[in-house]
Amino acid sequence: MAPTPHQAKTAKAKLISGGKQPKARVARYLKTTESQLVEGGKGSLLLKGIRCSESMSTVLKDMRSVQAPHAKLLSKNNLIVPFDDAGQQSLEFLTTKNDATVFAMASHNKKRPNNLVLGRTFDRRVLDMVEIGILQYRSLSDFGGLPKKRLGSKPLLQFVGDLWSSDVNLKRLQNLMIDFYRGDPVDSLVLSGLDHVIVFTAVEASVGGQEAFPMIHQRTYYMKLKRDPQGGVAPVPYLTPSGPDMDFKIRRTQFASPDLWKLAMKQPQGIKAKKKKNQTTNVFGETIGRLHLDKQDIDNRSGKKSKALRLAEKIEKEEENAALEAELGQEEDEMNQEFEQAFGHSQ
């Protein structure tokens, strides 16, 4: 339940101006919802549109299975028209609240049967949206008893066909698909744990003499690694179809403006590995460094007093006190003497 930007701001303001701190667990969660230097896996939100058929619900369920544990499936129908401002606001709100960056909305009506809107957000605003029409779909349950991928395992992705690089829409779609399916971005991986491949094939299809349009075939295969019979180091994959398999075409698109895209692609400076400019290696292989210091502000510097000075001050003080004491003592003696003189006996 990530807070909306406005909520986050007011909460922070309250905290700074002397409010009560949230519980540690809550504070830790809120930290993950703030912007971070290196981002983890993207959460995805799967929802239904105004009207959704049972098969489209199956599509979403399978997506959730494939993308688990990052995916969240909402069960109720939503009155959202995605290519509309109000609809996009709703989508932005829902994705923020469910900690999702990527979303898929399924719907079914006569004009657009078996419709799926895939999209992603940046900075809690919609970045890209692609509406695809599913022409054929085989779900996980259609591939009944066959082995399927493990929960949460990373897929091997493959894009087949030259259309992916030539068609503008498909280029962006490719980017979106990678975002959808790649899982957690990791630095290192146990390679023996790879167990499935997702292949996207783009072909120019023309049906019944109509205009040719790009058709995309998405196939998922369960992969078993087998020793290479020709004796290579790498194993050889044995693929079996495992579903979900989807054949679709693009209906409508709304891609980000170049400015927004540029903003979204901007990486923080902390990530890039900086070259160490002040280190050199000399002939003997020793690493030598140079320290570059700022200009020292001599006038305003505050220093620590030297030990001798402090000691001198101490001694001075003590002497003063001693002198004072001596004087007081003297005065007292004098007064006693006066008293004795006056009254003939001591106090």
Binding site: R138, K148, L156, V160, D162, P185, S192, L194, V203, A234
Partner: protein, 432 residues
């Protein structure tokens, strides 16, 4: 069961060498597959939420004497792919002939049906031409083989989880979910420390040994839990040279703490304003607000002093031996008793040394509507019922006050059941 059978069947296929038992051709394999599917399609298919049959869960590299047909030998005319290993991605950018993909004449009418038992969304032949699944699988196998070869070339480090391959950085850049965090602005103190070369404080431990009690207590917190709690916890505070001997030193300490806390909050807010976390001007707003509230409090104190402190309805008078009433409470008690007669103390004799009685005004209670208004009667009834329930069932406020010690702790007749011998049974109704 059927899944295990399926997995076992896979193994058998691998183990057996002949091509005939591979995917493409023989009726035997088709039949065996059909058998599997007939039995498995009756089962509940995989539901969402992840009941996955993993063949074996882990890699099982068994020695296959001959390669099954969906694996292409590396020396053949395969299409070279480009890779993005950071994303485990392979691009096969060679031209794809639609005729090949939508080959109507391909002899795999059985092949399609062997793997799946049904189709959730059926392809309409008017919109979707029939797809050559075998071609797609072959292309996938080619690409995957190449990709795996590349992946196995990566440097491997042995960790406790197993041998992990170090993936290179990602080539296909993907957009971020949120913009990168803005660089943190230095607070005023941090700037000053940087100029003067003052280093950060060394780490402090959370618990400190408290000499007074001989326990380990926290560094900060309430007076009881704090180690080496300062003068606020001492029963005696010496009057130093420059102090006013008439001022309450504990009150002075409390006021000092209040000003310190206020200063800290203000400084925090100003730092936040400078870094943009807070809207500009909120610190000034808060300061102004505090000043206004302080003024109001002064005003009420003045009016109270002038008009005399009004006593609350029930002033506690029964205290235990260890608790004293205190000066304020005594004054209030006196005030309450002065006006606790039917005439509100107007015609009672004044005692010697009694302070002047301030006239207590009678508050006229407003009656909503007329006395016989049904709505008024109903609301009165409601109010009475509420009072009754509060008395009988207890209310939150009462519990809170009991906890805070504002209720009598001494023994009263209501504290325990006292049997005075006059039970219901011993009561005899007198006749007549």
């Amino acid at each position: 069961m059927a899944r295990k059978k399926a997995a076992a069947k896979m193994e058998d296929e691998d183990a057996s060498s002949s091509l005939a038992e591979s995917l493409e051709s023989s009726d035997d394999s088709d039949q065996s597959h059909d058998d599997e599917h007939e039995s498995s399609s009756n089962e509940d298919g995989d539901e969402e939420g992840g009941e996955y049959s993993d063949g074996e869960g882990q890699e099982e590299i068994t020695n296959a004497p001959a390669a099954p047909t969906n694996i292409v030998p590396s020396s053949g005319a395969t299409e070279q792919c480009t890779f993005d290993l950071g994303n485990l991605l392979a691009h096969n950018t060679h031209q794809l002939n639609p005729a090949q993909v939508y080959d109507r004449k391909s002899n795999n009418s059985k092949l399609d049906k062997t793997w799946y038992s049904s189709t959730t969304i059926e392809g309409d032949s008017r919109q979707l031409p029939r797809v050559n699944e075998d071609l797609l699988l072959r292309k996938a196998a080619e690409g995957t083989t190449q990709l795996l070869r590349e992946l196995w070339k990566l440097p491997i480090e042995n960790t406790d989880v197993g041998p992990m391959a170090k993936l290179p950085s990602v080539e296909t850049k993907l957009p971020r979910a949120l913009p990168p965090p803005p660089p943190k602005q230095m607070t005023k103190w941090e700037q000053f420390a940087r100029e003067r070369g003052i280093g950060p404080k060394s780490k402090r431990s959370r618990k400190v040994f408290d000499e007074a009690t001989g326990e380990w207590k926290y560094l900060t917190g309430s007076v009881e839990n704090k180690a080496n709690a300062g003068p606020e916890s001492w029963p005696i505070i010496e009057v130093k040279k420059n102090d006013d001997p008439m001022q309450d030193p504990w009150e002075r300490l409390r006021e000092e703490k209040k000003t310190r806390v206020g200063k800290n909050t203000e400084a925090r807010m100003r730092n936040a304003e400078r870094s943009g976390q807070l809207t500009k001007g909120s610190a000034n707003k808060m300061v102004k607000n505090q000043k206004r509230l302080e003024k109001q409090r002064e005003l009420t104190r003045e009016t109270e002093r002038k008009n005399g402190i009004t006593a609350p309805a029930g002033v506690p008078t029964d205290f235990g031996t260890d608790q004293k009433r205190g000066k304020n409470s005594t004054q209030l008690a006196l005030k309450a008793t002065q006006t606790s007669t039917a005439s509100l103390g107007r015609f009672d004799k004044m005692l010697e040394g009694e302070p002047e009685r301030k006239k207590q005004l009678v508050k006229k209670r407003k009656v909503e509507g007329e006395g016989t208004n049904s709505r008024f009667i109903a609301s009165e009834a409601e109010k009475s019922n509420a009072i009754l329930s509060r008395v009988m069932n207890g209310s939150k406020e009462k519990e809170r006050d009991v906890k805070r010690g504002r209720y009598a702790k001494g023994e009263t007749a209501y504290d325990y059941e006292f049997n005075d011998g006059l039970g219901a049974g011993s009561f005899k109704k007198k006749k007549g």
